[in-house]
Amino acid sequence: MDPARFTCADGTTWRVEPSGTMRVPVIIYADESLIRDMDDKVFEQAANVARLPGIVQACYVMPDAHWGYGFPIGGVAAFDPDRGGVISAGGVGFDISCGVRTMLTGLSAADIIPVQRQIADSLFHQIPAGVGSESAIALDAAEMEAMLAQGAHWAVARGWGETRDFERIEEQGRMAGARPDCVSDRARERQRREMGTLGSGNHYLEVQAVAEIFDTRVASVFGLAPDEIVVTIHCGSRGLGHQIGTEFLKEMVVTAKEAGIALPDRELACAPINSEIGQRYLGAMRAAINCALANREILGHYVRRVFAHFFPDNELRLLFDVSHNTCKVERHLADGKWRDLFVHRKGATRALGPDHESLPAALRPVGQPVLIGGSMGTGSYVLVGEATSETKAFSSACHGAGRALSRHAALKQWSGRKIVDDLASRGILIRSPSTRGVAEEAPGAYKDVGAVVAAAEHAGLARRVARLRPLICIKG
């Protein structure tokens, strides 16, 4: 995009005032180089979001943004139910509650290196990844119902996880207000054999070493020290979320018209929050959040089982589990008044600053861990929420590196086999059922994650705590 179309006050806040039917401004947080590399469609999509009824303050766009479907990926928008605000299935996306969890191992890189290959093989063997992989868990109707209502609590009650994880999961591991009765039979059928599976695409499981510490005090509260090993999982609500997204998008395209909502793009299909379908979507979407929380808890359990085999005296503790495709009801100060807003984050991470009441006591003095997935070659970051993020973007930050090249272009440019070999020569072991999937996810297809998190920090969204370098990556 041409930076000249924005006004920029401080190097990382790029603003366009409302025009035409836009109700609020578009504000993009990024440095100039990231702005130049963004497709014009990022702004077009953000401007479309700014046209939706009941949007509050601005449509915000994170530094890792790229164009999506309906909302830009990296979009944050809050809606006020008392001012005709809407809830949008497209604003959450198909992979409802896709997110990241990072677990601390207490091990150092020196412990892992001698058995790195065996751990990689064992994780690849234990964790169903990719199309055609099968879960060891099949849910009957009663178990499905319980999972949708109870999230990670359901998984732990079945022996797949630990009770002490709950305080380190958003919503304490169980999304309130979930309504399994709003989840269709087809969505349930898609999930029946998918619990504890990683999925494909950009989903992954990585064993990482802490490569750099930026903030010693916060790192020590998070339990991160130089060279320490962590395990990070990126995945979501699997087929259940995809089907719920599909069905409600279809329904909302029709009902939006009936409700007199002009959709600038059909993919922005939405419904008034205070409507029958809006409430039904909310109930189903929350059930899908529980599905994602349960799924990541089970995957965490599988990781613990593999590590227990190699390091019997070792415990894996959860640092944090945070979603980046959600709509949540949150209290924010907007236009000088505290309001309960429906905050959509599509490819954006909630980033609560210090002293927030929903953080566990141990994290409250410093703020929420914000987990940023990079690419399999470059590394990932742990950030911490900043108090300033509340007024900047309803306490939100970026979620990853963001793609720079399409899958199509990546496939033309790289061979999966060569990427696997190159990374192996750099000490990074990739395990994937699909070399083509690896090529599509080539490290070069992503933006510079370092530039993304630096821009997030400069903009006051979240602050860098640690950089993680990958040692093992399981790709679906």
Binding site: D39, K41, H66, W67, G68, Y69, G70, I73, G90, G93, F94, D95, G130, V131, G132, S133, E134, R186, E189, R190, R192, G199, S200, G201, N202, G239, H242, Q243, G245, T246, L249, K250, V253, V254, D265, R266, E267, A269, R403, S406, R407, H408, A409, L411, K412, W414, S415, P433, S434, T435, R436, G437, A439, E440, G476
Partner: protein, 148 residues
Amino acid sequence: MIASSALPAEQKGRWEHFPHDADVGLRGWGATPAEAFEQAACALTAVMTRAEVNPNVAVRLRCEAPDLELLFVEWLNAIIYEMAVRNMLFGRFAVRIENGRLEGTLWGEPVDVERHAPACEPKGATYTALQVAREADGRWSAACIVDV
């Protein structure tokens, strides 16, 4: 190095993948909307695999929608659903469209991870870049972005 022209299934002028930042665009062409839908379904399978898919099992489905574009998304989502719950891939498609109703037959086989080496799983077809239209040369095309 994989060049798209070398990809066996991509027949020039029948279907294509077009670039999208994170996901993938697919387009099929045909003499009728039904043929364009069939070709777009081939493009959908090619998101996952370029290996041959044997037409061992037939699955029949129906869907309907108020217009051709919405019907196209319905069709792709119906295939995605069948692939997911049956753990199958499909390589051949037959479509009949009458009065906004679609009847389709998919021929395929269970996923064989070794042989198909499936890449990305499609999550859902979207309304973004959705177009079903008659082109200047008289052929029909059907296109949209699929979330993967």
